[in-house]
Subunit: 768 residues, 2 copies
């Protein structure tokens, strides 16, 4: 073996990034390129009475002004059955930022001026802002065709929760609320579109899913997919924000078709914060029935997801939450009711964890409260209920491997759980320390939520031994390129440095769903491995001929083939490839596929959408300054089951980056919305974790061996932030004895709630 896997290799795309050679979308210009700008609705809900574009059209330098009338007016959503969004609004606007018109001009300044010259007459309508109120009869309807503003609902039942609640020794019932947060990618959304005179449309944009975006664009624009080409530019962050077509794409495309020129549209940071899609905010009702010994016997979960104005991935996140609801713990009775509800607000999309951080925040916060009520150690309570490898969850998910228990034990050992639990809480001067735990499960394969999840790679060995892997993997900063190279190198017995990866062009790479659901390593990785194995066979054959041996005698290591037992007979890959092409007339290459052979089971309505799952336990240590309300995360120990590690440096990097997002989610990040208007659309007012804020992070890679993963690997892209907010919340309770039911635990909230708890304690004491 090449012994590549498990080594902390630096990322292959780092040199380009640190030297500035990597060209992002905004670095690109094309001859004759125009600059596009979108006119967005200033109203959260209004009827469009009229649009007059005449003044804008006559501004010198303006090349095109478009409204809905210039579009095919086909409603769109990622899941087409839930289509509800036009690229440009037709009859009404549904949120502040909704796309109304667009211009293309010679320069950005002219485009911005032109936008201000478009006259739109609106008739404001009452808006729906609170998703629970929006479901009440009589609430204003965001989409007239969706009564009670329900965009999607999902109901599932296993066993009989009502009977189980009656039988349970204790029943806990809580309401949790999670906030809206922004992806905060360093690169805002945008695209360059060129719809050329031959009828071919090319879109350059950072994309997590070029092929599915191609499908969407073709649908929105009503053209055959074969006329659309997506070229993914290097992404300055993704986190789910680049999975679905952004409306800049069809808008730029139409502007390009009208002008015959390439058109670039890139969001400003304010547009990105105010109008681009975010993480879904959820209201979660969690009711749990527990026996006195700690066994969870029933759980009922109700989620109201705030869709905002359009569906997008809201339905998808609710389906994932159902899958996750029964995955951590063996709960025999389970009821799940979920609603994606329209409001007149900025809408949301996929974001690292895909609904699961919200769910885990609620369930794992409650579990801590249950442990406290039962006077059990929260870890003991979790261990009692934890699922094990081989079990089948209520959703039908079969756990091929599961290192949940090991994650808990390793995290607890690392942090010194028992000692820390006994340490004093009050440090004096109003400062308290606390420790809290949360666990999580997540998908490690993306799954077949959209019906299929196969992948294909092509690998060739050039005449000088250079290896090229054409992979459908999407690189969004998570290290896909490096992971694919390492997997291929391992399978081939090659040097990683000899491998180039070609990605991100729908004309070249095979169909793939994209980089989501932590699926790239398993799905695309398996395809890379298979391609390398196919090429290796050919390489071995050629090497045998060259070295005068039988194929069985050939041993390969680090790009060199040797005849077993004959140290004199060896050849580099370059030698062999050159020999093959020049002497045998043979090129060395291979196609490799990952075929999701169980996919057909879904179509019959039983079985599960996923085959690989990952688990983790995180323990947070916090310090709460009750005089200011500020919570500082001091340390997070994160033990993650990721199957076999491809690259520990990258795996740790993924988890550390996620932890920073997770702590921000727990403590400070929030898109503050008042009647649909974002009040903090900039990094000054929207507080993410800076380098100075992040806690000490101890990442423990718990290696299981997933039977389906390439070399036993599973995904690790998302899970790092899934349990973080819950662990921090539980630690804050441990510190100050106050339970929080809404994120984030910002200073104002913590200060007030602590004060209230003191007042309450004082008054109870006084009245007692």
């Amino acid at each position: 073996m090449a012994n590549v896997l498990g080594k902390p290799l630096p990322r292959l795309d780092s040199p380009g990034k640190v030297t500035g050679e990597t060209k992002y979308l905004n670095d690109l210009t094309f001859p004759g390129m125009l600059y596009g700008k979108v006119l967005r609705s200033p109203h959260s809900h209004a009827r469009i009475v009229s649009i007059n574009t005449e003044r804008a059209r006559f501004l010198p330098g303006v090349r095109a002004v478009i409204t809905a009338a210039d579009t095919p007016q086909i409603k769109f959503s990622f899941i087409q059955a839930l289509a509800d969004k036009y690229p440009l609004c037709t009859d009404k606007v549904r949120f502040i930022g909704d796309e109304v018109a667009a211009v293309a001009a010679d320069d950005l300044e002219t485009a911005e001026r032109a936008i201000r010259l478009i006259e739109v007459e609106y008739e404001p309508l009452p808006g729906a802002y609170d998703p629970e109120k929006a479901m009440e009869p009589g609430a204003p309807l965001v989409h007239e065709e969706s009564p009670r503003n329900i965009g999607f609902e999902l109901h599932r039942t296993i066993g009989d929760v009502e009977e189980a609640f009656k039988a349970a020794d204790h029943v806990f019932e809580d309401r949790y609320v999670t906030q809206k947060v922004s992806h905060c990618c360093m690169e805002t959304r945008g695209t360059i579109a060129h719809w050329d005179a031959t009828g071919n449309l090319t879109l350059w944009a950072p994309s997590q899913a070029p092929h599915t975006v191609r499908q969407e664009i073709a649908r929105i624009l009503n053209v055959p997919r074969s006329k659309v080409r997506i070229i993914s530019t290097p992404a300055g962050g993704g986190f789910g924000s680049r999975l679905v077509s952004d409306m800049t794409m069809p808008v730029a495309a139409i502007l390009s078709r009208q002008t015959g020129r390439p058109v670039k549209i890139v969001n400003t940071r304010e547009e990105e914060f105010s109008t681009a899609k975010t993480r879904y905010s959820y209201v979660l009702y969690v009711k749990t029935g527990v026996n006195s010994d700690g066994r969870i016997i029933a759980r009922q979960i109700k989620i109201i997801a705030d869709n905002g104005a359009y569906n997008d991935k809201g339905p998808g996140t609710l389906a994932v939450c159902w899958l996750m609801a029964g995955l951590l713990y063996n709960v025999p009775n389970l009821k799940y009711d979920a609603f994606a509800v329209y409001t007149n607000k900025q809408y949301s999309t996929a974001f690292r964890g895909f609904g699961n951080p919200q769910l885990i925040f609620a369930c794992e916060s409650q579990l801590d409260a249950i442990a406290a009520a039962l006077q059990m150690d929260p870890m003991e309570l979790r261990l009692k209920n934890a699922n094990q490898a081989g079990e089948v969850a209520p959703s039908g998910a079969r756990l091929a491997d599961c290192a949940l228990v090991e994650c808990m034990r390793k995290a607890a050992d690392a942090v010194g759980w028992q000692e820390k639990k006994r340490a004093p809480r009050h440090l004096g001067d109003g400062k308290y320390r606390g420790i809290g735990m949360a666990v999580m499960s997540h998908m490690g394969d993306g799954g077949r939520g959209y019906g299929y999840s196969s992948a294909e790679s092509f690998l060739k060995i050039s005449e000088d031994g250079q290896i090229t892997l054409v992979s459908p993997a999407a690189e969004v900063g998570q290290g896909a390129v490096t992971a694919m190279a390492m997997i291929a190198a391992e399978a081939l017995g090659a040097d990683v440095a000899s491998i180039k990866i070609v990605i991100g062009d729908t004309d070249i790479t095979s169909y793939d769903l994209g980089a989501w659901g932590s699926r790239t390593t398993l799905v695309c990785g398996n395809a890379a491995k298979a391609a390398a194995e196919a090429a290796r066979k050919e390489l071995v054959k050629a090497a045998a001929t060259m070295l005068g041996a039988e194929p069985e005698q050939i041993e390969i290591e680090n790009g060199v083939a040797r005849v077993a037992g004959d140290s004199m007979k060896s050849a580099t890959f370059g030698d062999i490839a050159h020999f093959a092409v020049s002497k045998l007339g043979v090129l060395l290459s291979g196609i490799g596929r990952y075929e999701d052979l169980e996919a057909s089971t879904i179509t019959k309505g039983h079985g599960t959408t996923n085959i690989a799952f990952v688990f983790a336990c995180q323990i947070a240590e916090v310090e709460v300054d009750t005089k200011t309300g500020r919570v500082r995360a001091l340390r997070i120990v994160a033990a993650h089951d990721l199957g076999q590690t491809i690259n520990p440096l990258m795996a740790e990097g993924q988890i550390e980056g996620a932890l920073a997002q997770g702590v921000g989610y727990a403590l400070t990040e929030e898109a503050v919305e008042v009647e649909g208007r974002i009040k903090n659309p900039c990094f000054l007012d929207y507080k993410t974790m800076s380098a100075a804020d992040v806690p000490e992070m101890d990442v423990i890679l718990v290696e299981s061996e997933d039977p389906r993963g390439p070399f036993g690997a599973k995904g690790v892209g998302e899970p790092g932030l899934v349990p973080t907010a819950a662990a921090v919340n539980n630690a804050v309770f441990d510190a100050i004895g106050v339970r929080f039911f809404a994120l984030p635990l910002n200073a104002e909230k913590v200060y007030n709630e602590f004060l209230r708890s003191q007042v309450k304690a004082f008054s109870q004491k006084a009245s007692g």
Copy 2:
């Protein structure tokens, strides 16, 4: 079958070209791009005493000035054993235009100014200009290490020519001279190089051979091949001029490395005419022994090729001429001596026909004279000696198929050879008409002159039925993209419109020698066919599952699969691909290879370098105005054996384009050189055939069936111009009774020679 082949489909790349969407190299700009300019030698032969770049360096806007000292100083030639050229001259310059220094500046004007500020002190040396004189002892040496200025020589003997000449009834001995001509591509040579901070070099340039150019560039710059990527931009003509790395490439690369910025260098038209490589001019001595019955029993050929200052493809053309020397006619005794001789002149490279037009001009002109001397019909003489399918030529070439005789008969029938031969020659007013014939053989597969000639393609069927073929074929305007699409469509049973072709990027396509030797159709076409067949198998399997049938029952036509005998059961490729990926978890694709399995025979020193050959007969009708000397080609009938026709429209286009070049070669085109200086470096003074000049062209596609070609096809890129000059020359003799031994037959030459012949006839008459 799809019934795609043989149809006159328009080229797939035409819409881009007619709408202007196709972006050529000069249309491209990159952020921060600099403009490069090369300082060229004004001397044909001189020692470089000193170079002072200081004034140039201090010119504002200049970013880099380089001389040989900044280069790795590695000598280069396409065949590395014959290396003789530095990218920038070190000790001396060897032709007017030799690269001495280069600059990169913010704009082209500054670069041009900077070039003029570089001070070079030269010590002029006597030059060698005539290749025959250059071989004489004492001639100035272009390269001190090459005595007698011989860059390369090749000697071959079959049988015993001396004995055969003694035995022959007649021996004919003539000296022929061909001129230097320019490729006259509408797009001049150039490149954009970007050597980025991560050490990767990307070169954008129109290229006929991206992979071999990559090898060369890596060699010249002394970097691993894997660090070099060639992206071939659409080519505004090729004709052999873009087969070998142009010196702008390494020069731009070094300028880019020094500046860290992309650098563009594009030849001006004057540079292109004066300093870029041309067709080799040859001096040919042809001695032929014939029996009275017309049987050729011996032939001796001596070629002195004028290399110019460097070797380049000169040696290669002489090897091809040896291959061709015995291919047309069954000559038992053959002697071949060829020299590529250095002179202090612009050097040459591959050009459509690769030495063969020069050889055929000489041999076929002489054959006409032999026929006249024997009082035989020239066609009859050719038929008597013509090779047939199955024969083995002196070079070892085995003729798998050969429609030479059929070509002659069809051309003669079309033109009415016998009647035309009896028609009056003199039309009055000093005008004469004549008719002449020439035949040719050429390679139809590129061959294994460089050791190997395999190719590989990858074909995928997208989820909507769109087909992508990744092919190593190079599109230089010859229609490779369309031909590959048609071959794949035929093999797959698909619509041509559903096929996209990906080409021209060494990071993506597999290794391939390039578009030369008329090899693309056979070599890359076979790979495309095999890839399509592999994918078709998978498609059939999926279709069978989908339609509930056995694979053997599936019939495919025009992108639709049907169950034989059940008209209700059918599915489009899109349906099948979607079913495969979503229901079976299978992606449809295939790798296809053309493996040149006989290549190994070469390495043992016997056997031939080629496996497929093409043949043609052309008959020219001309009108000579003896009062002005002007020759007009009235009509050319060109009957070409191209195996099976892929696309008659394109095949005819290839032949017609070549005929226009061939007539120009015969009559007007010449790079006039005086002591190494080109005197006519512009289209005003260098006369190519315009639309008004070209003759009526009757192209007859003679279909044989090549057993190795894809669907029986062979190459057709080059042969169209190979016999044209000889046919025209023979027609001029037929018209005015004067034989010409040097090309071109321009007005001055024809006027003078005709006058001389009249004077001679008059004086013979007078003295008689």
